[in-house]
Amino acid sequence: MFSPLLLRAGLRYMLRHRWQGLLALTGIVLGVAVVLAVDLANSGARAAFELSAQQLQGKATHRLVMPGGTLPDEVYVALQRQSGAPPMAPVVNGWVEIEGWPGRLRLAGFDLFAEGPFRSELAGVSSQVGFTTDWLTQPGALVLGESLARALDVAEGESLDVLYRGKSATLTVLHVDSSASAVADDLLLVDIATAKSVLQMEGELSYVDLILDADAEAWIRQRLPAGVELQTALEQAQGVTRLSAAFELNLTAMSLLALLVGMFLVFNAMTFSMVQRRNLFGRLRAIGVTSRELFRMVLLEALILAVLGTLIGLLLGVWLGQGLTRLVAATVSELYYNVSVTALVLDTGSLLIAIALGVLATLIATLVPAWHAARTPPLTTLSRSALEQAARHAVPLWGLFGVALLLIGLTLALVLPGGVIMSFAGLFSLVLGAAMMTPMVIRLLHSLLARAAPPGIWRMGVRDLDRHLSRLGIAVAALMVALSASVGVGVMVESMRGSVNTWLSDLLNADLYVAAEGFDQGAQLTPSLVEDVARLQRVDAISRYRERKLPIDGRRVEVIGAHLAEPSRQGFALLSGASSAWQAFDEGAVLVSEPLAWHLGLAPGDTLELPTVDGPLVVKVAAVFRDYASEHGRVFMDEKLYERVWPGQPLNTLALFARDGDVEAMRREVSELAAEHAIVITSAGAILRESMAVFDRTFRITEVLRILSLIVAFIGVLSALMALQLERGKEYAVLRALGLTRGQIAGLISGESLLMGLLAACVALPVGILMAWVLIESVQRRAFGWTMPFGVDGVLLMQTVLVGLLAAGLAALYPAWRSAHADPAPQLRED
């Protein structure tokens, strides 16, 4: 063990150099906190999604569905009357809208008598006398969760109007459930009879849930009517989780970024603290402390620091995580449906990663310098330059290692086949490699700068940077990672925004769009309205659309039967099979969206199977078109074919082209029809604006996280600079004694810092663009199946450089002020 003396020496040092200890601690705390916070926000959002899905799914193992349609009542009624039937629960649900409420809410209708084995929390929401009677006999009786009731401002006994497909229905709050999470926050829970009435589903069920073992499954399969499909819970869950895939991907990328920045912060803090103490180590060695004792002491100290830092970091992370979780929940609510993350989900995985980061990264960061300190002869250890020299020697080695990692990353992401995980692994490797290369690149840039630098203070600053590479290298790398991630994500978002904008503007080229009132895409137009519109004088051409969702290969593919007017056809960006594609379309071939084509490996000329009640319909692929509307995929087919396969389905949307381009005249005509029919008339511009607003909301969280990572990197640079300037107090005193003014000292420090920011930004730009490329070509492609033209925005790049400079400049303010104002005399007297 250590002698008490040694421990006291370590402790005294820490106490005398509080600042250094504090800065090292800050690094660890911040790193741990950021990683935990981002992870908590992610798992919170995921948990909210899962809660919602799970509550609807309950303990069901299987589900009976009618692909592309609803399940007739008789299927369930007949099955449940047979002896030996397994537990079954019929469900009727759909999305409704409430005036003045931004999102959609799920109206879920259950038969409580069948619910027992399935969703006991749902079934158990009430225990009051008389509840059952009202629930069953009072049309519109509603149960909802406490937080939703508060948000909607309704209390028990009050009524709530909901809109479904343009029709309004009144629900009455029978019970507000206050038990935690019994009722998900997006759920309006009603009796199945109420749901059937509100959702206009007489004679139909959304699906039937089942609990099946192998025997019961065989029993059911023998009795399945034609067209009814038995799906497993797994297949169902995939459908639900896919809904959030795009969003989750976004969050995962951010988690990764946080982990990287956090790692660098911890490394930075610890390496720094070690470097600073070589002097003490030398003295200890000189008075006879063995290298083993020294090594142990340093590790013990690091461990104490790591544990303390991790603990504080976890607390800070939880606090920060709460804020972020709320933000994520708000975004999810706006984009998908209402969720509220009431309780923070302290996910073991998140905690473990954060703890591992705090403890392991700290120890690893300590290991090399500690080993160095213990091994080197006392005299060398005492020498100031020895470590710098060692660090300088290591630079090319790190650099080579970095290049290798970068190449591995690119190979993983772009060359080797694999899924999104592979892409992310590649991205991670790429950024790590780039960070390792940073000191080498700085050295190269530095040698250029040194040659070009003007004489005087400026040159001194440039030289200094090289001299302090061991201390500053990692801080610069951390800043670089933050900046490059900012560039990478920024370029990706901008490219995507541009692509979506172009795609939408091309596709939405009609003058007006007419849809039935109601938020729902399933809202349907009455045939009489369609006739009326066709008769209008000012309408030159009409495109008609009707749609349904079909399960294809575990994806919920939108199939659209369309009559496309000539200008509508021109709106399609056909990626392949362009020649004669439209002729093939008219003859019964279909247009397949890029994501679907990617996932199913479809090319023009291939065939695609669509499930229908009468068995699969085999269609030929005429062309693949660019589409960002659905990651699940979309299929366009001619109206005539659609009508033949799914007869009698009303239209969902009309696209109108004005005669002689007189949109206003046409709008007046159509508006007159709106008096008789519940329709919404929208211009392409309005749809475009709304779509882009949704797009921007999706990526708002990205913005916040980008800024967060920059702040953390900024603190990293600040702490590195602070520590350095504090250590160099004596050096500045000598400079002051030599005649440098306070201003010159401050200038020196600021100049060095700005140079650091500039260098970080210079490395960050190419790395960021590379990241963006990987994100677009690999991550987006593999996750969603779509491609997009790569567009680098010069303004964004300039911004990044400015942010780098700003961060470095701000970080230098306090150290510069302090060093400039320090009295040189005591510093000089010390030796």
Partner: protein, 374 residues
Amino acid sequence: MLRGCSLLMLLLSAWLLTACGQEPPPPAATIRVDEAMGGTPDPDFARAFEPRAFSFPGDHGPHPDFATEWWYLTGNLESDDGRRFGYQLTLFRVGLRPGEAVQDSDWRSNQVYMGHLAVSDIAAGKHYSAERFGRAAAGLAGATSRPFEVWLGPWGLHSDGDFFPLELEAQDDGFGLSLQLLAGDKPMVLQGERGLSRKSATPGNASYYYSFTRLPTTGEVSIGDAIYRVQGNSWIDREWSSSALDTDQAGWDWFALQLEDGRELMFYQLRTREGEMHAFSRGVLVERDGGVHELSPEQVKLTPLRYWQADDGTAYPVEWRLQVPGLELDLSVQASLDDQLMDHTVQYWEGAVDVSGSHAGRGYLELSGYAGGP
């Protein structure tokens, strides 16, 4: 006949919780029967004030004007190789509200059905039971008089004719019944005053009540993968009312005994809160030729001899001495199996019994109002 009343009342308050399994029984489910029976049905339901002219087969079907109604079947069966079984199938109809339901949906109904199914495998010492609920809509549950049918999901009674022969079909997870009940020799018994059975002094606190006391029964009992061909005798009680227990009534002990000499004895003891026999307790002795003797509390002496304790600590008297001195009956009634507890939405004990003493026989016993305190 009163049995079932408490079940129906409790149904309104507590079915949800226990029906939903898994969860531990919530407070509502342990409401004492007498408390639960205190509630009065909606006054707009029809009430039984005076005897009615029964009309069959119509009256075998449902009477939705009344709040509650049941088809209550019990019986003792024996397989070809002498293995003994007891069974119970009860289908309750509950009117949640009087009148027709608001017709906003085909799935809306003011009528709900509850079913209890039980099989006692005496030789194996096992008692199986299950519970179901369903709304009387969309074909999920319901009753018709012509042809006669009562069903709740896969459980049901039906007849191609007016009522007999009656087919009983009820399978649950791991056990089930598939039986045919014949009319036999015994005529229908109208209970109480020409079928009007008064439960308390309050006017209208009465039910319409008739019984078939000995129905030759054949069919199959299934337990697990084993199927037993069985024969024996069943007992059917039909009752409908809109009545409730009086405040001084705590529960009841109900006996339905088929004696080997061809006679049947039915007696229900309404217990007061003090555990005494209530003045409105009633019974009937059915002669071999179908003639009846009404039994009032003064004629009958009931003494519990032995108690069996359920897991929750409730003690049920599973052995009795039943004396009717005026008719020279001194019967010892013993549970064929101690644990025939119906632990569902409401806890009660109902099971097969052996009769010995002055006369031998078999029968069914129901003990209610014991859970949740004396």
